[in-house]
């Protein structure tokens, strides 16, 4: 029986020629990730095992990005605990504030994940690296602890859904709109336990930043992982960022998919997910008049350089609406510096937006832009659950950086064409 991309990667990492859906395997890990929320729990669990070494000091990444720069004393204690652990174990990929970035933007940028890798991260959006043709998935802290100790994790071989992308998206349609459209189509559990595999000649029209933002949200459809077929753009990205050895896996021609969707990118419109689920999508022409109080442009979904550029293109020479707080958060130091050098910060600041140091911050309701009761935000983040960005009675609308920037100017959810 033919295998999907995901099945092939997992089979190889389990030392097997063939795997079938539902089969339980143990796979070798190329990278194990944790952050300042999940790693402290993992460290406590790791200590219980009673060993003094991690499996490989180069294959673990500890990224304090959520509540950093530490927002309060308790957060500082958690960050300290994982820093000390990283130092004690000699973990190479520990990133202190000033070098840190939002984990899922940081790891690819640092070349720590390449095509064909198997990656687990104690963070649900670890699925982001599927953009590189890697198998990567979110797990919990205990799995992280076990992974750090053994270099292995157990997996159930997933079935897969295939998304064949064709055509070229319109001017204001980005990877974010494509994935929001897909989640609207299949629902927040539409890919539960399954892989989402993205193929087709439309891939050429999606940049790596687009693909990262799409793979990032595979979890919002309940998927185990999202993965893109590797092409020239992937390999160019890998050459620019990494010296690690990589391996390209293609699905067999007779691979079995439980479902196949054909999506014509040229037909898609900018899409917004209404509260309180990412599946509550509406195209921009159907949003109506939704007044807003805050705009967040950042996160592991859309805090990359192209996102900064699109936002700046729209904010250039315009002003953020007087009733709106617009907060821009480049996801890594490198993106931050690049934005500064390209003059994007002048545009943001002149427009009346605030620019933050890299952090998850408001994305998870941590800090740097929490919503009060009844307030509404347009955010380029990935979740709009009840209370996600603050008070349980606040609201988050998920959108692309283009829609977010245009909304900041309009004071309501708006398309760049309306301003």
């Amino acid at each position: 029986m033919g295998m999907t991309m995901t099945q092939k990667i997992l089979a190889d990492h389990a030392g097997l020629d063939q795997v079938v859906p539902g089969q339980l395997i143990k796979a070798k890990l190329d990278m194990v990730l944790g952050n300042d929320i999940t790693a402290p729990v993992a460290v406590k669990e790791f200590r219980k095992i009673g060993i003094n070494n991690v499996f490989d000091i180069n294959k673990i990444a500890i990224v304090p990005d959520h509540f950093t720069p530490n927002k309060d004393i308790k957060s500082a204690e958690q960050a300290k605990l994982i820093k000390e652990f990283a130092r004690e174990m000699g973990i190479v990929n520990y990133f202190e504030v000033g070098r840190v970035g939002v984990e899922h933007a940081l790891l690819p940028e640092k070349g720590l994940v390449v095509p064909g890798d198997v990656v687990i991260g104690a963070d649900s959006h670890t699925c982001t690296y599927g953009a590189l043709g890697a198998f990567s998935t979110g797990i919990g802290s205990t799995d992280m602890a076990a992974g750090m100790a053994t270099g292995e994790a157990w997996f159930k071989i997933p079935e897969a859904i295939k998304f064949v992308l064709r055509g070229k998206p319109g001017k204001w349609v980005s990877g974010k709109d494509v994935i929001l459209h897909i989640i609207g189509l299949i629902g927040v559990d539409g890919a539960l336990y399954k892989s989402m595999e993205f193929v087709g000649d439309g891939l050429h029209n999606l940049s790596m930043d687009d693909r990262f933002s799409m793979a990032n949200m595979a979890i919002e459809a309940g998927a185990k992982n999202g993965i893109f077929e590797v092409d020239d753009k992937t390999l160019e990205y890998v050459r620019e960022h990494s010296t690690k050895e990589y391996k390209v896996y293609k699905a067999d021609s007779d691979a079995v998919y439980v479902k196949t969707y054909e999506i014509d990118l040229s037909e898609l419109k900018p899409t917004v997910a209404f509260p309180h689920l990412p599946e509550n999508t509406r195209t921009i022409d159907k949003v109506g008049n939704v007044k807003i109080d805050q705009v967040i442009i950042g996160s592991c979904t859309n805090g990359r350089i192209e996102d900064m550029r699109v936002a700046a293109e729209i904010l250039k020479g315009r002003k953020v609406h007087e009733d709106v707080r617009c907060i821009v958060i480049p996801a890594t130091q490198k993106i931050w510096k690049q934005s500064m050098e390209e003059g994007l910060f002048d545009i943001f600041v002149d427009a009346g937006a605030a620019v933050s140091t890299p952090t998850c911050g408001p994305c998870l309701g941590g800090h740097m832009g929490i919503l009060a009761k009844g307030e509404r935000a347009v955010a380029t983040t990935n979740r709009n659950f009840v209370g996600r960005m603050g008070d349980p009675e606040s609201e988050v609308y998920l959108a692309s950086p283009a829609i977010a920037a245009a909304s900041a100017v309009a004071g309501r959810i708006a398309s760049p064409e309306e301003i």
């Binding site: 339980l24 929320i37 999940t38 402290p40 729990v41 406590k44 669990e45 219980k48 095992i49 009673g50 060993i51 959520h66 509540f67 927002k71 309060d72 308790k74 957060s75 958690q78 991260g121 104690a122 963070d123 649900s124 670890t126 979110g138 797990i139 919990g140 802290s141 205990t142 799995d143 602890a145 076990a146 100790a149 053994t150 157990w154 927040v188 559990d189 539960l192 336990y193 979890i219 309940g222 185990k224 689920l277 998870l364 309701g365 941590g366 979740r383 659950f385 009840v386 209370g387 996600r388 349980p392």
Partner: protein, 162 residues
Amino acid sequence: MKAQGKAIKYGDNVDTDVIIPARYLNTSDPAELASHCMEDLDKEFLKKVDKGDIMVGGKNFGCGSSREHAPIAIKASGISCVIAETFARIFFRNSINIGLPIIECLEASKDISDGDNVEIDFETGIIINKTKGKTYTGVPFPQFMQEIISADGLISYIKKQF
């Protein structure tokens, strides 16, 4: 192993942000986490819950973040088992790894009402609704996961390897 208690029922897509909001994640202390469990969805939860009670959800229970704090908070609040139509996969893994019994059963998830007295046998997957006098059959864990559970979680299971 069995669990028995009254059912506390919620709907579909109960996400980890309502199980334990991120604003409380600057700690990993189970008791402290439990003191905020479910508060954004159900302010009365902590008053309602008695040790041994059973949480019942619909589809995609535990969707969202990978925070293990979510099953930890539920377990520390006294809940002895969660029944749902389906679980989000990271929540599923995490629950097994930390030793919170969970079981998938469409019929039980639909039929059990808030307050029903429910008994679950984990080995067989049989769920008895004593209030309604009904029996449902859930999906018992595969052998491999039973081993992890009987080893009292993944860490003790791993410990044997060293």
